[in-house]
């Protein structure tokens, strides 16, 4: 399911997985994990890894419960830390 609308989301930014195939993740307050894609990802990792943030983001792909892979979001703006 593709969800194109932008929304505000709250969660933690972290690096997950094992080297070398690690990825930047956004874990929502209710535990849903998304892979972060998009041009801001590198900057988010360097500045906000470990941070609880409120962001403006678009869900590119929702988690499908029948498969293991996480959903995907693209973050456009960090509104603030909380």
């Amino acid at each position: 399911m593709l969800v194109a609308c932008m929304s505000e989301m709250k969660g933690i930014i972290s690096v997950k997985g094992n080297e070398p195939h690690i990825y930047l993740a956004f874990t929502t307050e209710n535990g849903i994990v998304y892979i972060i894609e998009g041009p801001m990802a590198k900057d988010l990792r360097e500045k906000y890894q470990g941070s609880k943030v409120k962001v403006k983001a678009k869900v590119v792909k929702e988690k499908d419960e029948s498969i293991i892979r996480p959903g995907v979001i693209e973050i456009y703006k960090v509104i603030g830390e909380y």
Binding site: V15, N18, Y23, R69, E81
Partner: protein, 610 residues
């Protein structure tokens, strides 16, 4: 985050409490404190608090000072007539944000009170400026941190467009249909980073223990017959030796048995449609990783979960439970090739390391259906697995001490992960650094994991970090560590902040024997733990035994520390999230009075050593 040293020092109203020889000191509140600019948004206020205690000796003492909020903490430590070394360890217990680094106001108002130790006043480079990046990028590594990109999606080729029929150059038919074990002489083109990036290989060994089957493949260009362009080639004897280490008949006699006994099975049943089905096969592909023909360092091996997926979801999946090992380094001899030679031995340790990753993925993501672990936890588990198996696989682990030497070894040790940790002991624990700096994160994660394993029941603890404590949720972050520690001797109200502080104390106490639980690294022998009658032993660690050349001709022989003056110039005034800063004063006596300015979340632990 610039710490502007606009000090409006206000003499402190201190209410002191003296607790002699106490292990835990509760500070009492005080009166007005100082203030400083926060860079424009207003003045930060600090509450003045005070704490006093008398050291009665003769042994080591650890004082965990409680405080909350922004504080100016005045500490009166009366050593009496004793001459001691005092460490002030600052912990940023906030894992979500950097903060202003602590300051020693005593030194700010008395610039002549500088420490004589020139080394401790040296300001270390920031990570990205580290000389280490330039000089040590070819150090042996598990995984391939040097090519990691953090805008990466390891499943980036997943998508319905694959299902819809994107042409697969190398479709593998057997994966999702109950793949059978391979046969010696069988060939396959393994897909690496895409369907067109392939490795032509031949199966050179198939061995079973009655339940599991190990299939070892060797890239054709790395094989001793017909290979080309490599410094060394893999022979049948080398393949046989690897198989013998990883899987053979009998119980508790190979890497497979020892690692699965801790963490559980590497693959099995599941309910996900995108994953391959279990067939009790494990595959190892030996090839020249990165095609660098390196015999001295680089990437030794890796596990990549993409191969656990069906090609309908990841078109370059090999549809095998497998990991990758560097062939050239495995074949690199020291004289006549022996599996105990340095590079082959490192490769064997890598098998244990990567196997933990393989199991971690299945047990945590698939079986427990939990978010993938934070990288620092996953890598910590693999590093401690190497540690736990060192004396079983007969390879010196990340401790860097000979595998059958259980005391802390000898001075001037340059091996293992800990020399680098000693230099970067103020790096963040729960943040995984990028690019070549990742090797710093490996060292910090190992140091912390080694501390946990030696204080809280080793293998049993790490089993629960991966599989979860019965009745407790798993999260994929530091909470999994805390819950596991609580289940293995930690206090019921223990927090990650407590562990960070205890760890800091353990680091500086590691040249002392028989420290109390929670501060141990070194008992002059091994620490043991048992799962299903398999006994795991971890050797002692003395951080003061390691030697690290941090710049040309300059060596570090102990955990890096700052003077109180150096503290005031720390890292542009910023303290990393989830990190410790060590301040040391050697050979002090009598009353030691210090006032430290600390932001909310920064905690002070004081260690007095003989």
């Amino acid at each position: 985050m610039c710490f502007k040293v606009l000090i409006k020092f206000i003499n402190l109203l201190i209410k002191s409490v003296i607790i002699s020889s106490a292990l835990l000191i509760a500070a009492c509140g005080g009166g007005g404190g100082g203030g400083e600019s926060d860079g424009g948004s207003g003045e930060i206020t600090y509450e003045s608090i005070g704490v006093s205690f008398s050291y009665s000796g003769p042994m080591e003492r650890v004082y965990k000072i409680q405080s909350s909020g922004n504080v100016e903490l005045t500490l009166n430590l009366d050593l009496g007539s004793n001459t001691r070394t005092v460490y002030y360890i600052f912990t940023n217990t906030n894992f979500s944000a950097e903060t202003d680094s602590p300051k020693c106001l005593t030194n700010l108002i008395d610039p002549n009170n500088e420490q004589s130790n020139a080394e401790s006043s040296i300001i270390k480079p920031l990570f990205s400026e580290s000389a280490f990046l330039k000089n040590y990028s070819k150090s042996p590594a598990r995984g391939k941190p040097e090519i990691s990109e953090f805008n990466s999606n390891p499943w980036k080729h997943i998508g319905k467009e694959k299902i819809a029929g994107k042409k697969l150059n190398y479709p593998i038919e057997n994966g999702a249909k109950g793949p059978l074990k391979s046969t010696v002489g069988e060939t396959n083109d393994f897909m690496n980073e895409s369907t067109t990036d392939t490795i032509a290989a031949t199966c050179r060994k198939v061995v079973t223990d009655g339940t599991k089957t190990l299939n070892i493949w060797v890239a054709n260009n790395c094989w001793s017959v017909g290979g080309s362009g490599k410094s060394y080639y893999v022979t049948q004897a080398m393949v046989d030796a690897m198989a013998d280490k990883f899987l053979k008949s009998g119980t508790a006699n190979d890497i497979y048995d020892w690692v699965t006994n801790i963490y559980g099975s590497e693959w099995g049943t599941h309910s996900y449609s995108d994953l391959i089905t279990a067939d009790n096969n494990i595959h190892i592909l030996l090839y020249d990783i990165d095609n660098d023909n390196s015999t001295t360092g680089g990437t030794l091996g890796f596990f990549w979960a993409k191969d656990n997926f069906q090609t309908t979801y990841i078109d370059y999946s090999n549809q095998k439970i497998m990991f990758y090992i560097d062939a050239v380094m495995y074949a690199t001899p020291a004289g006549t090739w022996e599996i105990s030679d340095p590079m082959p031995a490192e490769i064997i340790s890598t098998l244990a390391h990567e196997f933990q990753h393989m199991i971690h993925f299945y047990q945590k993501n698939v079986v427990k259906a939990v978010a993938e672990s934070d990288t620092w936890i996953n890598e910590m588990c693999s590093l401690v697995t190497e540690d736990l198996l060192a004396d079983k696989i007969l390879v010196d682990g990340p401790r860097g001490v000979t595998y059958d030497v259980y005391d802390a070894g000898s001075a001037n040790n340059i091996y293992g992960r800990l020399p680098l940790f000693n230099y970067w002991n103020d790096a963040p624990l729960t943040t995984w650094l990028s690019g070549s700096d990742a090797i710093i994160s490996y060292s910090v994660s190992y140091a912390f994991g080694a501390f946990l394993a030696r204080n809280y029941e080793g293998a049993e603890l790490f089993k629960d970090i991966v599989q979860g404590v019965t009745g407790k949720s798993l999260y994929g972050d530091y909470r999994d560590v805390v819950e596991a520690v609580k289940a293995h001797g930690g206090a019921s109200d223990l927090t990650m902040a407590d562990l960070m502080r205890d760890w800091g104390a353990a680091v500086v106490l590691s040249n002392k024997l028989y420290m109390p639980s929670g501060n141990k690294y070194n008992n002059d022998g091994y620490y043991s733990s048992t799962i299903n009658s398999i006994y795991y032993q971890l050797g002692s660690i003395n951080m003061f035994n390691y030697k690290y050349e941090y710049s040309s001709g300059n060596y570090l022989y102990e955990p890096w520390y700052y003077s109180t003056n150096g503290l005031n110039n720390y890292n542009d005034g910023a303290m990393y999230r989830g990190s410790n800063i060590y301040v040391k004063e050697a050979s002090v006596t009598g009353m030691q009075s210090k006032t430290f300015r600390m932001r909310d979340g920064v905690k002070l632990t004081v260690v007095v050593k003989e």
